[in-house]
Symmetry: C2
Subunit: 217 residues, 2 copies
């Protein structure tokens, strides 16, 4: 397998966690430096025309793209340990929580969007930070409300097994750290993120543990 990655990419972080949980060794990690705009170069556009990472190539297959699609692919091809429960309602909850992160929150704070508001709307650094914090907090509030009131919530988002939702919570917590959002107001989510942070598969996948990462972000 070949993974197109960048240390700071929260979406790639999600896929790295899944790979680690499944015990899959990636043969080649190809760095796409989002800060230098390498995702917009012709070479990478040929890999993923959305100009986004992660992208994953498994054997001679076509390029896989979008983090949640890749995670579900890994779950279907390497079923153990499962990253989704078996019951359809439980799967819908895990997917829904995951999509609050991957649809409603994270896409608003990726580099291309922060660049647009800085250039087109002349948002300064504080304005960009406020923007990122706003969308983070909106999703964190919704996630906390669900997690703190659902009887399904356990050690992890859905009971006692790690699921795709926990992978997404970990990426949301890492994003909160990047954008200086205090998780103390979201105690259930913070507890689950802390539980995930004890798991080696999460630790090894963390953005700040990847090549090129600064000592702290």
């Amino acid at each position: 397998m070949k993974l197109f990655s960048f240390w700071r990419s929260l979406a790639t972080y999600r896929v790295r966690i899944a790979l680690n949980l499944k015990g899959i060794t990636v043969d080649e990690v190809i760095d796409v430096n989002l800060m230098k705009g390498e995702q917009r170069e012709a070479k990478f556009r040929a890999i993923n025309p959305m100009m986004a990472i992660p992208a994953l190539i498994d054997g001679d297959g076509p390029v896989l793209f979008e983090s949640l699609a890749i995670i579900e692919y890994l779950d279907e091809t390497y079923p153990n340990p499962p990253l989704l429960p078996r019951d359809p309602r439980a799967r819908a909850r895990v997917r829904g929580l995951s999509q609050i992160v991957a649809c409603d929150s994270h896409p608003l704070v990726v580099p291309r969007v922060r660049e647009y508001i800085a250039h087109e709307f002349k948002a300064d650094e504080a304005g960009v930070m406020k923007w990122a914090q706003h969308w983070h907090k909106l999703a964190l509030t919704a996630l906390e409300q669900n997690l703190s009131t659902s009887k399904e919530t356990g050690t992890y988002c859905h009971g006692e097994q790690v699921t795709m939702a926990d992978i997404c919570i970990a990426s949301q917590a890492a994003g909160a750290n990047f954008f200086k959002v205090d998780l103390a107001r979201y105690p259930t989510l913070a507890r689950i993120a802390a539980n995930c942070a004890k798991i080696d598969a999460f630790v090894r996948a963390h953005p700040l543990r990847q090549p090129g990462a600064p000592a702290a972000a």
Copy 2:
């Protein structure tokens, strides 16, 4: 089943198409007027703390949320006709195409985001329109590139069967219409959207066919 809906919501349009394709009759459609901000009222926050539609309640189950999670739930509980292919690589492609719409494009143009840039960045109507068109075009370009070069593309996004990706393409095409983006530059996608527009399940689900919709948008 109870569906929380609004005529203009592209995410709810996606779920309505899936319901129609499956032949599922919704017992109650509850209108959440996004233009009046009803999604932010306490009554609806108790249903979906993300303050977004669609939300679906099936029997006595907890509320289902996020359009793609709901569609996969419907696909798992009402398997015919299937909305995902069986092969894992094919499923990953269909989910990936769907997520270009539902993660990378649509979340950037929903009312709460358009309101934020109008209020916080003082974007005028033309600025909001330019913003919406920008993210639409970025996704349309990526989708067209994939659809026009993949040997898997057929009458629909993935071969000869309607999938979740076609549902998402239909919502992207409706959004392009709302935001005055010409689909002529995306001929493969436009062809697929036109093929979908011939199917009764898509026609009946269209935003402009819902109660409260204007004669044209």
